[in-house]
């Protein structure tokens, strides 16, 4: 009798629980056929995407794309390594042409002034009644040449030192640019490898989740049954734990393998980059040495063209000597002024070329052609990943819509007065699949 009462009260308790559950379900579930909903649902896709497990990867890609775009927004025109090499060669050609031009003009001017001074000396000597004026004028000319040679040698030495400093600075800029470029390339390769491995891990995670989705959902539905007895609940929970553990252990194994691959790849890249840096920087230094040697030879040629200086004869009157000295000063002054213009023009050209050279080598070589390539690759991956997320969200939303009896479900709506917002349902569903 007492047992019967207990049994009856158990049945009543179960019925009451079922009723409560019925009310809860009725209270939570949308009435999809009401006048306000009319079988119409909508999903705020942007919101759902933010809750997708792959969203963090999508954000990383977005950040990487934005970073490259931000770097590219600078005023520099991106150039590839080959373009830089070609433009450097062109600048060097222009520099050599400017040097040759300046040397030729100086030599021409020198000849002209020598001739004019010679004529002035002859006229002065003839006026003073001195014979053998031609030889004397030649000696005077040699004097002029000797003084000019000394001045030119000083100028040429100063120019050579400036050139040396400039070439060494260019060498340093080019070397550091090459080092930076090679290191950036290595870093990009490493990042690409890391991203590829990460993508593989994500794919595996998604594959495992999809593979177990049906089983997981079935177990969860069983677990959501309030009337389930404790033993069955424990068994179901154990099955769920098994699935989770199996997935976790597969993921862990994959992660460990990937980490080892990455370590090995880093070591390989370091070796390759170190070798490439030594080789390329060595080549730049060899070029620098050759350039300096070439310029030294040019300076030597220039000095030789100015000639030597024999001694003056001692039998000239003081007046004639003074007159010849005045003529000499006059022509030296005129020559220096005239030659100075040519040298200034050459220096201006050289400064301009140096500036262009520095700007060219100051450009971030690593963030140019390679960056554009990386940007393209990142954008492609972003599109693919986003599509992957969308596909899953659409599949899940469609299943929910079908289960709940919706007639149509929209995305990307501007405003809703009616219809049912399925966003949270889809978010819950996606999160439950990836717990």
């Amino acid at each position: 009798m007492s047992k019967m009462r207990w049994a009856n009260s158990g049945v009543r308790l179960q019925t009451a629980k079922a009723l409560v559950a019925l009310f809860i379900v009725a209270g939570c579930a949308p009435n999809v056929h009401s006048a306000a909903v009319r079988g119409t649902g909508y999903v705020r896709m942007d919101e759902v995407v933010k809750h997708h497990p792959l969203y963090s990867q999508l954000s990383q890609l977005d950040d990487a794309i934005a970073a490259i775009n931000l770097q590219a927004a600078g005023p520099r025109v991106p150039l590839g390594a080959q373009q830089i090499a070609a433009q450097t060669a062109e600048l060097n050609r222009e520099l050599r042409a400017a040097q040759d031009r300046a040397n030729k003009i100086l030599a021409q001017k020198q000849r002209e002034y020598v001739q004019r001074e010679q004529q002035a000396d002859q006229a002065a000597l003839a006026a003073a009644g001195v014979h053998g004026s031609g030889a004397l004028a030649a000696q005077q000319l040699s004097n002029t040449s000797a003084a000019q040679a000394q001045q030119a040698a000083q100028a040429a030495n100063a120019d050579f030192q400036a050139y040396q400093q400039s070439v060494v600075a260019q060498n340093n800029a080019a070397s550091s640019s090459v080092v930076k470029q090679l290191q950036t390339q290595a870093e990009q390769k490493y990042r690409a490898k890391a991203e590829q491995l990460q993508q593989n891990e994500t794919d595996l995670s998604l594959r495992l989740t999809q593979q177990d989705a049906a089983a997981r959902l079935a177990i969860k539905m069983r677990l959501s049954n309030l009337a389930m007895d404790p033993a069955a609940r424990r068994q179901a929970q154990a099955q769920l734990d098994d699935i989770n553990n199996r997935e976790a252990s597969q993921m862990l194994a994959q992660r460990n393998a990937d980490a080892a691959t990455l370590r090995a790849y880093r070591a390989q890249l370091d070796r390759e980059t170190g070798g490439a840096i030594r080789s390329q920087v060595g080549a730049i230094q060899a070029q620098t040495t050759a350039k300096l040697q070439e310029h030294r030879n040019e300076v030597g040629t220039q000095l030789r063209s100015l000639g030597g200086a024999p001694a003056l004869p001692a039998n000239l009157s003081p007046n004639v000597t003074a007159e010849l000295a005045r003529i000499h000063r006059q022509f030296v002054g005129q020559f220096q002024a005239d030659a100075g213009k040519t040298i200034n023009e050459y220096n201006a050209t050289k400064s301009d070329l140096d500036r262009q050279f520095a700007a060219l080598h100051g450009a971030d070589v690593g963030a140019t052609g390679a960056a554009a390539k990386e940007l393209g690759s990142l954008q492609k991956r972003r599109v693919e990943l986003y599509q992957q997320i969308l596909n899953q969200v659409e599949r899940d939303a469609s299943r929910i819509a079908k289960d709940r009896g919706f007639s149509i479900v929209f995305v990307n709506i501007q405003a809703a007065v009616g219809g049912y917002d399925m966003t949270n349902l889809v978010i819950q569903d996606i999160e439950s699949q990836h717990e």
Binding site: A66, A67, I408, G418
Partner: protein, 267 residues
């Protein structure tokens, strides 16, 4: 205690609530969709697009040449407008008749199926009537397609033309201010990025830049976006619409509420 009457009462109340006449209405079934990507793969569209692309390539070469010779920004702008106009004319000439025929085919299918609105497939993820194949059949038939005798029936799906709303002076001003702000900041932060020495520095700079832009968006654009959404919902409520989508996603029919939203925002 006997629970049976209470259970019966509860179930009856629940069923009553669920099945009350006011709570039940016919589902929305007069919505169709077209897969425009599939239509674009029809040979006539493919050929037309190819011809247009070839024309554009020629035009681009001329455009770049003229742009290089332009001395002022005003000249550049004029050249750009002129070439844009030329391209639009050609587009109308080549693709216009095809679009017109496709529109007639969509209207014919909608009329025969009592569809009040046809939208792009991208915005329907479940249900609705897929009319793509029917449209393709009519479009590809050799006969001329006649326009339907009646206009589409009123739809509970509304749409707004975002490009028109963007033209409202206050929206336009806000968008311009935002663009200028972004442009200036991009230059500044780009220079900072160029000086960054490590990935961590670059990440920090990016975060600062993103926050700056997001804050400015919240300040300049968000109030207008919220206002537009409220105005759109209010107009939709008055017109007994269920949902409002973007004009760009509507291919046929639907209720255009752009002017009403524009007026509401202009107040």
């Amino acid at each position: 205690m006997n629970l049976r009457p209470a259970i019966l009462f509860a179930v009856a109340t629940l069923l009553g609530a669920l099945l009350a006449p006011g709570a039940i209405a016919a589902d929305l079934t007069d919505v169709g969709f077209v897969d425009q990507a599939e239509l674009a793969n029809l040979p006539v569209f493919v050929n037309a697009n190819r011809a247009l692309a070839s024309y554009k390539a020629q035009l681009d070469a001329q455009y770049n040449g003229q742009l290089r010779r332009a001395r002022t920004d005003a000249q550049k702008q004029q050249i750009t407008l002129q070439f844009q106009q030329q391209f639009n004319d050609k587009q109308r000439e080549i693709v216009g008749p095809l679009f017109q025929r496709a529109q007639l085919a969509i209207a014919a299918v909608s009329s025969s199926r009592n569809i009040s609105v046809v939208v792009d497939k991208r915005i329907v993820i479940y249900g609705g009537q897929d009319v793509t194949k029917d449209v393709e059949t009519i479009f590809s038939s050799p006969q001329a397609v006649s326009p339907p005798v009646s206009t589409p029936p009123p739809s509970e799906i509304g749409f707004v033309d975002q490009s028109v709303l963007d033209g409202i002076p206050k929206v336009q001003n806000a968008n311009t201010a935002m663009s200028q702000f972004e442009s200036t900041q991009r230059q500044l932060y780009s220079a900072k990025m160029a000086q960054a020495r490590s990935d961590s520095d670059r990440k920090q700079i990016m975060q600062q830049y993103n926050k700056l832009v997001a804050d400015k968006q919240d300040e300049l654009l968000k109030p207008l976006v919220d206002q537009t959404q409220r105005a759109t919902a209010e107009v939709a409520r008055k017109k007994n619409l269920l949902l409002v989508v973007d004009r760009a996603d509507v291919i046929y029919g639907g209720s255009d509420i752009t002017a009403d939203v524009q007026n509401a925002l202009g107040k």
